[in-house]
Assembly symmetry: C2
Homo-oligomer: 457 residues x 2
Amino acid sequence: MFDPLEKLKEYVRQASVSADPQFKDGMVGAQKFVATLLREMGFAVDVIPTELHPVIVGTHGSDPRWPHVIIYGHYDVQPPDPLSEWTTPPFEPVVKQGRIWGRGAADNKGPLMVHLAAVGRLLENNPQLPLRITFVVEGEEEIGSKNFKSFLVKHKERLRGDFVFMSDTGIPNPEQIVITVGLRGLLALEIEAQGARTDLHSGLHGGALMNPIQALAELCASLHTPEGRVNIPGFYDEVCEVEPWEREELRRLGLQEKDYADFLGIETFHVPPGYTPFEAIRYLPTLEFNGIEGGYQGEGTKTVIPSRARVKISCRLVPNQTPESMQEIIFRALRERAPRGVRITITPQHHAAPYVVVPPGRQNTPPDQSPVLARAFRATDRAVAEVFAKPPLYLREGGSVGLIADLKRVLGLDAVMMGLFLPEDNIHAPNESFHLGLMEKGIKVAEKVLMELANPA
Amino acid sequence: MFDPLEKLKEYVRQASVSADPQFKDGMVGAQKFVATLLREMGFAVDVIPTELHPVIVGTHGSDPRWPHVIIYGHYDVQPPDPLSEWTTPPFEPVVKQGRIWGRGAADNKGPLMVHLAAVGRLLENNPQLPLRITFVVEGEEEIGSKNFKSFLVKHKERLRGDFVFMSDTGIPNPEQIVITVGLRGLLALEIEAQGARTDLHSGLHGGALMNPIQALAELCASLHTPEGRVNIPGFYDEVCEVEPWEREELRRLGLQEKDYADFLGIETFHVPPGYTPFEAIRYLPTLEFNGIEGGYQGEGTKTVIPSRARVKISCRLVPNQTPESMQEIIFRALRERAPRGVRITITPQHHAAPYVVVPPGRQNTPPDQSPVLARAFRATDRAVAEVFAKPPLYLREGGSVGLIADLKRVLGLDAVMMGLFLPEDNIHAPNESFHLGLMEKGIKVAEKVLMELANPA
């Protein structure tokens, strides 16, 4: 069996920044690393081209009666900038303080190595394991998985599995594993208000016409109620009730509002009635303003009536909202409220569906849940409880990971998302690192889960 | 007597851009030009330093029983950029198509030359003219006349005149002279909304806190009524009634709403009830948004909750509003309405008082109007009617010229503002020019006015 830490060092050394064409060598290096390692583990590997970065698919086991696990990961990493803030070079991995330091160590090279090492150990000890395993490792996660959906559609047959096993989410501390059971969706759009042909002198023309900033402000101000709900008819119609077990699970996480307010640097929260801030960011949809601009933005005064102004909006969606139907009701409200005197243009931007999976035995578990998925959840729960001496928590998160919803929508697959990175791992920031104790424990958990799936009790 | 056109060429050749220290030679050249010409005309001249560019003061006549005219002008010009759009070099004056082309030709070197030439002719023919004349020619008009008020305060005694005669406003066409009898004031401010300590991920935190863009949008949206009035208690309390003669004068200008809408490139006006757009921009105060910015403003989507957002606002004020009392009621309304959950900071920026003067014989002419001012208005009216074969119109304008209000507030002086530049003169733009026919007629008018003041009928 290979040494996971030595292999991870080699993997981190590949500067696989998907966003920047200058890192092409690193991308190819990371592809080769993953493909070679999988082949050494006995997998049949294909490096499948997409419009940009290829997806690596490795398969092992072929008996259609065996359970089929899809293990997802990504070999691309965030850009390392700003380089001056790194204490060691981002692509020269260093082991110190019980961690491995380097870009991608935690997102997602370390966690993928956990799964690779678990499978490696398992197959070494059980060459005839009655389990089909397919690794799907993409190269565009950090730039929005743009080509992943069409890849899934094209290779649907080969990817017909029972569930997805993966680690690309976070946990609050090294003692508490969290299984992410839901993600919010996303619907982004931009609104432009166009007034006069050009910027105008506010002395010569002020008072004659609608100011595009005023029009946008009035339109934007109409979108929330004073108590903080989104003020669009039907906005909450498809929102799932939060189950008592979910609220209870979140309480067990032990977050304190005071700590959260201090972390954010705010004095008061602004949350719709009936929800804590921790609930609101997980269970409720939002409509947020991400950016606004118009007119003069420099220092001092310039007395201009701007010709145009625009605002960027994104909505987080929750089950069972769909981007398609939400776009319809949001755009309708915006069009109905568009102030007179300016031309309003609404441009849809990207979107992602929300995702939720209910672990077996909860109040709202679907009666037709896949038995393999249910076994995977139960196996993970037991393995985490054994290895960490503490069962995992099952929580929805507020972020959006479009590929999870794509896996569900295209392949019908749910995911067991076992979190492995910590807040202090600095993902997407300088001085990224990955906790070696978690790596070792994670390998044990993953190995036990796969073993139990192959040989149910 | 000097040739005004030859002198104007020499004057335009001085590249007197007050905003840019690289044009220091041009500023000094223009100062010397004005001072020398005034001395040649028999004036006692002082070049009085300020914190930045000096003011040239030239006096002629000393008998305290004689009427005292202050003639205002400015020797500084706008920067010539973008240079590539000029068809002839900005500081190499060219005479063609009945115009003189060059930066500052119309703003304000040509119109000042009109007054210089009129006085020159008058004094040549009437060396013993019973009239005191003081030229005040400043060098910071294009950068806000920042040091002009303190100059006025310091030299108050010397500048005790009967009225100000000047030409630094516009007219609609070469046949129609307009006397500007009012200007709006200005009150500028900036509002910043500060939310969380840093920009936040809208997935991880969206729904927990007030978004600063939302807060600003709600605050801004509260500031107007749907029909277009400013929605701040007391905002209109001090606004003068528009007199029927003012409306009538404006109607005689013959502006068409259709033409104005086409010029602006808008489909509908947005004007408070009871006013035409032409009235609203002259007679009503405004609250305009000049700029707004916050969060992500690039292409595409960035799902951020910005830490801060800010908006620039300026109000145009009309008689009898004062910047001081208006600031009080506006700031009070803003503070009362500041949304919870963000910190709102309101920063006052510069301001200027509104100005109005009522020509003699109108409904609301003050009974104690200076007899010399009244004679100056009547003389100007007659002279324009003779020279242009059409009497002038008396109109308020929507812009703000702080120095006019300063002359009134510090020295108690009203101004007879005889417009001389045309829309096609391209002031503040490339290819500025000044109409030579207007120059010659303007000289005749100014000469007649001063002659009549010195020797009342």
